[in-house]
């Protein structure tokens, strides 16, 4: 089992996640030329070593994550939210709900610490 330290939920088995794919791909603008779309859709570096990839925490917070993982040893070196602005979005949700801040523990920087407090700050529908 690969253990993924979700910035929102803490350390979880990879079986809770769905693998997205190569996280280094930048999809071009909708009206970009065929060549750009061809490359983004069909060409892969297929790295043997540390690669950036997306995972979806389907059986958890349902957030997309950007994970740096070694494709040979499966070792994970960093996990962060795929949506850079997710901290800001959650902060405003928390402010609306009269809660604290979130962006201090989850942001665009790799998250390896503070996830326990992070998960306790995630808005909990059951409380509302």
């Amino acid at each position: 089992m690969i253990l993924i330290e979700c910035p929102f939920c803490g350390v979880r088995d990879h079986a809770e996640f769905r693998y997205g794919g190569d996280g280094s791909i930048h999809y071009p603008a909708l009206d970009a030329d065929l060549e750009h779309w061809h490359d983004a859709l069909y060409l892969r570096e297929n790295i043997d070593g540390m690669q950036l990839e997306t995972w979806h925490h389907v059986f958890g917070c349902r957030q997309w994550l950007l994970v740096e993982r070694d494709t040979v040893s499966h070792e994970i070196s960093s996990v962060k939210p795929a949506n850079n602005d997710i901290g800001v979005i959650l902060d405003s949700a928390l402010t609306d709900a009269g809660g604290g801040t979130f962006s201090s523990s989850v942001g665009s920087s790799p998250v390896g610490s503070g996830d326990a407090s992070g998960s306790s700050h995630v808005p909990d529908n059951k409380k509302e």
């Binding site: 693998y19 859709l41 570096e45 297929n46």
Partner: protein, 422 residues
């Protein structure tokens, strides 16, 4: 090296089987070869054989970093079928099946090809309609196909779960009688021996570590057994294709490497006489019984990209659940071994047998889960491509550039996500 025959078995039996000659030579690398095939799996070995046999090429080497058949060749679940539907694929796989039917004779080596029927289980009328269409299209290419109703399925395979509370109630089956399985090691050894007899040098423990290029040509290959000059070079390295590709100084490919596991149980008395395959929603498994009695089965990929030849536990559970929901009688059978291989998953689930941006480099890759059955035709068409420096019409769209031309050979209709193809 002598031909194998009933007489040779008898004669060697008289001398206690101590006089058998080795099956192929273990030559020292020559300095120059006309053709160097990288990868001593089934595809590389078959290519060398057909280059020598069909095209009378000489000075051919197959270089293999480990031992023959140590890659996916020796790790697969050995299912052979030709139930492909799309143009190009169906001619290719039907040709492959025809080559299988005569392979033991052609190679003078018993590959234990057993046409025990490939049975795809159906669970509802809609699925049956889809398969009726697919299997009728196969008939246009001369393949065989049958649809079984529930009564026939019950008679043929009595041990499936037909009970009222079955997890996946059965409706019928789509069947290819000429499908079946073969002994994977024997296929590797048979091609190796037959190629060797035609003069091909098989160089084991010979890893390619670099290339010397002159403009758009490969001049020589650096290997752990010295430098080899090559007139033409062919890659047939399955899950390692991207590694070799970047070693040769090229960029990205429409391929991702994923791992697929397979399993074998303790030996049982004869129980399943067919190859049985089951797929509903996200569950997939395929089961057959080996000649030694073990249940050989597999399922889906481990879902995340990997170059590791070892599997992960969640997929063991998933596949075991699928198998036992189809065959509840296997629920208490013990697993003996499980392992994984690195698959060259392509962007549309179909293969590449094609020229490359380098003028004397040819590519054979993108086999997904299906490259065992493809081995004979893969070697046949790859040899034809290398010898004639142009693709045969059957594989003319199986090139790297097809996506750019809008030609997507996607049997599953899964889209450009390699892990979703099978």
């Amino acid at each position: 090296m002598a031909r194998y025959s009933a007489w040779s078995v008898f004669k060697n039996g008289l001398t206690g089987n101590r006089q058998w000659a080795r099956a192929w030579r273990d030559p020292e690398p020559q300095q120059h070869y006309d053709v160097v095939i990288v990868g001593g799996g089934l595809h590389g070995l078959a290519t060398a054989y057909y280059l020598a046999k069909n095209h009378r090429q000489s000075r051919i080497a197959v270089v293999e970093k480990g031992w023959l058949g140590g890659g996916n060749a020796g790790r697969n679940t050995t299912i052979v079928r030709s139930n492909y539907m799309l143009p190009g694929n169906r001619e290719f796989y039907e040709h492959s099946l025809k080559l299988w039917e005569n392979l033991s004779h052609d190679l003078n080596y018993n590959v234990m090809f057993s046409q025990r029927s490939h049975v795809t289980l159906m669970h509802d009328p809609g699925e049956m309609d889809v398969y009726a269409r697919r299997y009728n299209i196969m008939r246009l290419t001369g393949s065989d196909s049958e649809l079984w109703d529930l009564a026939t399925l019950k008679k043929e395979i009595p041990h499936l779960d037909y009970s009222a509370d079955a997890r996946f109630p059965l409706y019928g089956a789509a069947v290819q009688r000429r499908g079946g399985s073969a002994r994977h090691d024997a296929v590797a050894w048979g091609y190796a021996r037959a190629a060797d007899r035609l003069g091909v040098d098989i160089l084991q423990n010979c890893e390619v570590t670099g290339f010397t290029r002159q403009d758009s040509r490969i001049v020589s290959l650096q290997t752990t057994r010295g430098t080899l000059e090559a007139g033409k070079v062919g890659f047939a390295v399955a899950g390692n294709t991207s590694r070799l590709w970047s070693m040769a100084g090229m960029g990205r490919l429409p391929i991702e490497s994923h791992k697929l596991q397979a399993f074998v149980s303790e030996p049982l008395k004869p129980l399943i006489n067919h190859v049985v395959s089951f797929a509903v929603g996200g569950a997939l498994c395929y089961v057959s019984q080996s000649d030694k009695g073990g249940m050989v089965f597999g399922g889906d990929l481990d879902w995340y990209k990997s170059y590791a030849q070892r599997g992960n536990l969640p997929q063991v559970y998933d596949v075991a659940e699928a198998v036992t929901s189809m065959f509840p009688c296997l629920s208490r059978v013990k697993l003996l071994r499980h392992w994984a291989g690195v698959m060259d998953m392509s962007m549309d689930g179909s293969h590449f047998i094609c020229k490359t941006p380098l003028s004397n480099l040819y590519l054979n890759a993108g086999w997904n889960y299906g490259g065992f059955k493809a081995s004979p035709a893969s070697g046949w068409y790859f040899a034809d491509l290398i010898a004639n420096d142009r693709p045969h019409s059957v594989i003319e769209n199986h090139d790297l550039d097809r996506f750019r031309r809008g030609i997507i050979i996607d049997e599953r209709g899964a889209g450009p996500d390699p892990k979703l193809h099978g």
